[in-house]
Symmetry: C2
Subunit: 352 residues, 2 copies
DNA sequence: CTGAAAGCGCTAACAT
DNA sequence: ATGTTAGCGCTTTCAG
């Protein structure tokens, strides 16, 4: 068998003056063992007050910042929760994120955010990247994932909460609303108010499954009353409010006899509403309008757009609570929370 | 001296069936050494095609996800960039973040976002937390930080880019606009258009330094023409669009003779604009309006609100480029990029 | 209450 | 092109 001479040891990294400080530096500065320094910095109770103060003084004066990478490797514990959402730009996810932040307060866990741009491959890549940091849990928007992503979630061995949507099979826990039901609910309200020629204006994104499900729910709900959508208008990119205006103009030009417009979100709905007001249309008499999300910026418009509250903040809070609760005692997985969205008719649906 | 018997070795962690997979599992499954497996998974060129495929097949079939914690500890390299912003909820930071994401594409670096809610202590805590993961760089909104935060940034030994604002002393690099100059620029435009009774509507947050600087710039610019603000209105919490409407009503009730309203951001400006239109005021003849940020949702309003573009996306991209460029070769720090905001008079400032 | 030793899972630096 | 060894900076485990 070949003899291996041990390779030269690396140069002592402590020679580098710009190197980040280590526990050892604090240990030497305070005259306390590394182990005890570590105890102090992790706020463990079994250290004498005198020692504790000596250590804290040394750490502070040196400007020591602990290395969580080493800590996580040694303890096999990472206080991070991966949060993966499709977008930050449409006002709905920021509110979910703030709910998550709030729900994680005082749990010792920290959210880390990733964005997929409604792209399943990107979602898979972001998930892989995040799992490689071994987070304590995952919160993810939606139930539709690539097979590889699903496999990763299955075998990660950590709590997974899928949020926003309950129409489908979950990996583990799920917190959300039924978008299909929200669509049906809106159909009922529209028909009950006496509208009959209904148009839909929405996004073209094939991977916005929640918008798709709302449209399906709407269609089913109308069918139940023997009605069908009279016209549809889709858009791809661009800023939603101006798009809503343009699309509304387009659909009303093509189909001037529409008496109701259902928008797949409040932002394009607001654009449409402003357009209709400008055109001097009688709202909600001549034409009714509704959006989706319950954004409270709608309260600032000349007429309050009818909408369905998506319970965004509560979804974030409940999802966070499930992850945070898991560490405690019960390793109960598979929690299912279906919230009930509230329809607010605002000023743009006829009262009967 | 006391004799220490070596403590019992820990139980073999590989006994736990739910334990995450390690390189060693892939090594055993593929019959290739751990080191070579590591090379394959890091896409290094010096591996034969046959070996590479064997390893990849094994890794895939096992569902192996590398442990970046261990990798980072061993290599002393973390491909993360800490990004710290005050808020996600006002449409301006998401655009900065997307600029950062874009600027980091193909650099091998990944942004990680933290939110401070305009709270300096929270900023300090978030920074501490993030630095403890030893990121490769920090991008942070604003130039005002607690002394402790500044000390951490100084001694972190990594590139730091402060963004959005150039009015003040930077820790390292800075990319932004001068909000003071933006305020002065607006004052010039207002005065040049013949307005004389100017009101300001803004936020009460003491730690929104950029809004404060815009107000200071506006005041200075007016003073240069012998003018002073005729009225001001501040708000604290709540949703910006409805608030803008309320505040506008309030200020015009108190001071009905105002002929110009400068809003500290586009969202409250849009609320104010909608209110003025509703009241049948002649815009921009009787009263002029302007906001700040260059949000493109303004394009959907009945009249386009005058605004100043804050170059949000470009700021994100340039900041990211500075961090990404640093790894390459030149360790040049202290880059200073001051962008020139563009004033768009829209439809709400008189043309002369 | 404090300390010593081992090792978390990976990669740098060699050696072949 | 592949393998061997040591060690990254902490925490766990045990001993005192």
């Amino acid at each position: 068998m070949t003899q291996h001479r041990p390779p030269e040891p690396r140069a002592d990294p402590r020679a580098d003056p710009r190197r980040p400080l280590t526990l050892r530096d604090v240990s030497e500065a305070s005259g306390v063992s590394e182990m005890t320094v570590s105890r102090v910095l992790r706020n463990r109770a079994d250290v004498s007050t005198a020692t504790r103060e000596k250590v804290l003084a040394a750490a502070r004066s040196l400007g020591y910042v602990p290395n969580k990478i080493a800590g996580a490797l040694a303890s096999q514990q990472v206080n991070l929760v991966a949060v993966i959402v499709p977008s930050l730009s449409n006002m709905v996810f920021p509110e979910v994120l703030s709910g998550i932040s709030a729900g994680l307060e005082d749990s010792g866990l920290q959210p880390v955010f990733g964005v997929t741009n409604y792209n399943p491959e990107r979602e898979e890549a972001v998930l892989y990247e995040m799992l490689s940091w071994r987070p304590s849990g995952v919160i993810m928007a939606g139930l539709e994932h690539t097979p590889a992503a699903r496999a990763m979630l299955d075998s990660a061995g950590i709590p997974v909460v899928e949020i926003m949507d309950t129409d489908g099979a979950a990996v583990d826990s799920v917190v959300g609303i039924s978008h299909r039901a929200a669509g049906r609910q809106m159909a009922e309200a529209i028909v009950a108010a006496g509208y009959r020629r209904i148009g839909f204006l929405g996004t073209k994104m094939p991977d916005d499954h929640r918008a798709r499900k709302r449209l399906e729910g709407l269609t089913e709900g109308l069918e139940a009353h023997g009605l069908a959508l009279a016209a549809t208008e889709f858009y791809a990119g661009g800023s939603a409010l101006p798009k809503g205006r343009e699309m509304t103009k387009a659909i009303l030009t093509r189909a001037p006899d529409l008496d109701f417009l259902y928008f797949s979100n409040d932002m394009i709905g607001a654009g449409g509403l402003l357009y209709c007001i400008e055109q001097g249309l009688d709202i909600p008499g001549q034409i009714g309008l509704a959006g989706f999300n319950g954004l409270d910026f709608l309260q600032g418009l000349p007429l309050r757009l009818a909408t369905v509250d998506a319970c965004r903040r509560e979804i974030g809070e409940r999802a966070a609570a499930i992850i945070a609760g898991r560490g405690a005692d019960g390793l109960v997985g598979g929690v299912r929370v279906e919230l009930t969205p509230r329809l607010d008719p605002g000023d743009t649906i006829r009262r009967i």
